[in-house]
Amino acid sequence: MDAGTANQGRIAAEFERLREQGKKALVTFITAGDPGVDFTVPVMHSLVAGGANLLELGIPFSDPEAEGPTIQAANERALANGMTLTKVLDMVVEFRASNSTTPVILMGYLNSVLAMANFAHRAKGAGVDGLIMVNLPQEEAAGLRQTLTAEGIDLVSLIAPTTADQRAKEIVTTASGFLYYVSLKGTTGSAAIAVDEVAERTSFLQTLTSVPICVGFGIKDAESAAAVSAHADGVVVGSALVQLMSDSADPMTASKRLETATAEIRHGLDG
């Protein structure tokens, strides 16, 4: 049993299934409660219908320091809509009422999670499978990882283009769920991705671990997703979808648009 399947939960099961089918994972990100609280759960189902394999749900935060303008604006809208972490968990519960297999991963900033007593237990109870903490590097992560692991929740580790080889070796020793490779120096939704550079780093990471590697930041469409996925186990698409959400007047429109967009990317990946 390697670290990637240690929790034997939905995330490991989904990657196992994809591996058997020879497919790449499509991971989608939206901010919970943006642009309206009633958009989130219907859109989560639409993303799955369009071909998303794992769902990342952003926990709205007042100071999202690693996000580009698109996701910053989504955070501000969601907070203006009265979103809290408790309400994010409620949305996961609602989603789970009719989907018990698609992994749900919360993504956000440490202060949100620290403010909730017994977060790990409550998240597990809601049906959360993983957590990505943008501002929690390896050195600071041990305590939270321990409480999450006890509940069977994966703390997904991030690796950046600036991560030195030795440091990457240390990070993979505790990797669980999947490894999130940040494809470029910048904020979410930044400019073009350099596929060659990504390929060089992911092939190095693949020599270190059997934990699946997903690449995010800068992937906007079917073409970039397909190009990157040749060098990874999956891709993460965020800002492009968040932009579509914000342009949608109602949950129905958003659901249709995001399902179509996801299906296009899925098609690109399955090419």
């Binding site: 690693a66 580009g68 910053q72 690796i159 950046a160 600036t162 904020t187």
Partner: protein, 409 residues
């Protein structure tokens, strides 16, 4: 006089932070993975250079001939007499080049940037003092400079904005969030994560991720090093109390640090009480905050039950920040320093008193420390002394004060 900088007293028992940047349970490094490499590099370079004779010589020369150090220690005789208690000594940081202590840190960090071969520096600023100090050293060293400043602060500190532009810096108004200092810091972090290869981020206070709280403190500590020696020389004894205002807390750490092992000396930080700590409209996380994580470190923070960072209020833009340097959080928790708060009105009253009685125009930030003096000097005896960090001058605040007085200049 400038010699003692960066030289820890060897008999010291207080040695913070740890190698991983912790002051007790506070501090650390809570940043995106992309930045950890640059922070490691900065910490390594600083460890190498802090005792390097050539680096220190370069720093001392700039502090002496460019900044004008040492700054005087001045007995405020009329203020002392009118309050009728302890003798009040002012460490005249308002007399630094650019008008505040901030330049001591920016010179140090700009020299580090030069050693790293980084041609560009960025900074966040609230009142504009740190922005001006960064623009100044960037001009002095020929570095390209971008300063992030909340849109609201761009309006209330227009004089400093223009000063920065005159020195060739680009001032970028920040329109996200509350449009103040914390949002400027978010935006600077976003810039840095994107341009980390050729850019050094000059953080202006003892906050941010490790090693910033340590290195900003060390560069600011020349204030306390000089003041401690001057007290011994001019007064013949150490002060009974050292007082400084606390926003992020760099001027306070700078004057406190050399006194930490002098346990007979009380250290008092004064936060921005805004409309009153009980009203919630303030910027006093050590008085009314909880432990949290923002901008790379764990410290006291004004945040709500959901972990959202709250909006702050202070008449002074430089104190209008929801967090505080982690070393202050540690000093509070171990009881080595105490932290009071002064309201907008109390700070304004002290501001006027220093103008009238001493002919010194203090910054509104600094006026919070003076408000504590106004309140407490009279409770002390005439043979006791208070050392106040007069951290900056108030020219930048004249429009704000005139506005409060209902006068259009």
């Amino acid at each position: 006089m400038a010699e003692p900088i960066l030289e820890a007293n060897t008999q010291r028992s207080y040695a913070q932070p740890t190698d991983s940047g912790y002051f007790g349970e506070f501090g650390g490094r809570f940043v995106a993975e992309t930045l950890t490499h640059a922070l490691d590099g900065l910490a390594e370079l600083y460890a190498e250079l802090k005792d390097d004779p050539e680096f220190k010589k370069e720093l001392y020369e700039d502090l002496a001939h460019f900044v004008g150090r040492p700054t005087p220690l001045y007995l405020a005789e009329r203020m002392t007499a009118s309050l009728g208690g302890a003798a009040i000594y002012l460490k005249r940081e308002d007399l630094n080049h650019t008008g505040a202590h901030k330049v001591c840190n920016t010179i140090g960090q700009a020299l580090l940037a030069k050693r790293m071969g980084k041609p560009r520096v960025i900074a966040e600023t609230g009142a504009g003092q740190h922005g001006v100090a960064t623009a100044t050293v960037a001009a002095r060293l020929g570095l390209s400079c971008d300063v992030y400043m909340g849109e609201e602060d761009v309006h209330r500190q227009s004089l400093n904005v223009y000063r920065m532009k005159l020195m060739g810096a680009n001032v970028i108004p920040v329109t996200s969030g509350s449009k103040t200092l914390k949002d400027a810091m978010n935006e600077a972090m976003r810039d840095w994560v994107t341009n980390v290869d050729d850019t050094h981020y000059i953080i202006g206070t003892v906050a941010g991720p490790h090693p910033y709280p340590m290195l900003v403190r060390d560069f600011a500590s020349i204030i306390g090093q000089e003041a401690r020696a001057q007290m011994l020389q001019q007064v013949g004894k150490l002060p009974d109390v050292v007082v400084a205002c606390v926003g992020g807390g760099s001027n306070a750490m700078g004057i406190f640090h050399p006194f930490i092992n002098d346990t007979d000396v009380d250290l008092v930080g004064v936060e921005a009480g805004g409309r009153g700590v009980s009203t919630g409209a303030h910027a006093a996380p050590l008085n009314d905050g909880k432990v949290g994580v923002l901008h790379g470190n764990r410290s006291y923070l004004m945040s709500d039950d959901d972990g959202q960072v709250m909006e702050t209020h202070s008449v002074s833009a430089g104190l209008d920040y929801p967090g505080v340097g982690p070393e202050h959080a540690h000093l509070k928790d171990i009881g080595r320093a105490t932290y009071a708060a002064a309201t907008d009105d109390e700070a304004m009253e002290a501001f006027r008193m220093l103008n009238r009685q001493e002919g010194i125009l203090p910054a509104l930030e600094t006026s919070h420390a003076l408000a504590w003096v106004v309140e407490n000097a009279r409770k002390m005896s005439a043979d006791q002394t208070i050392l106040v960090n007069l951290s900056g001058r108030g020219d930048k605040d004249i429009l704000t004060v005139a506005d409060i007085d209902g006068i259009t200049l």
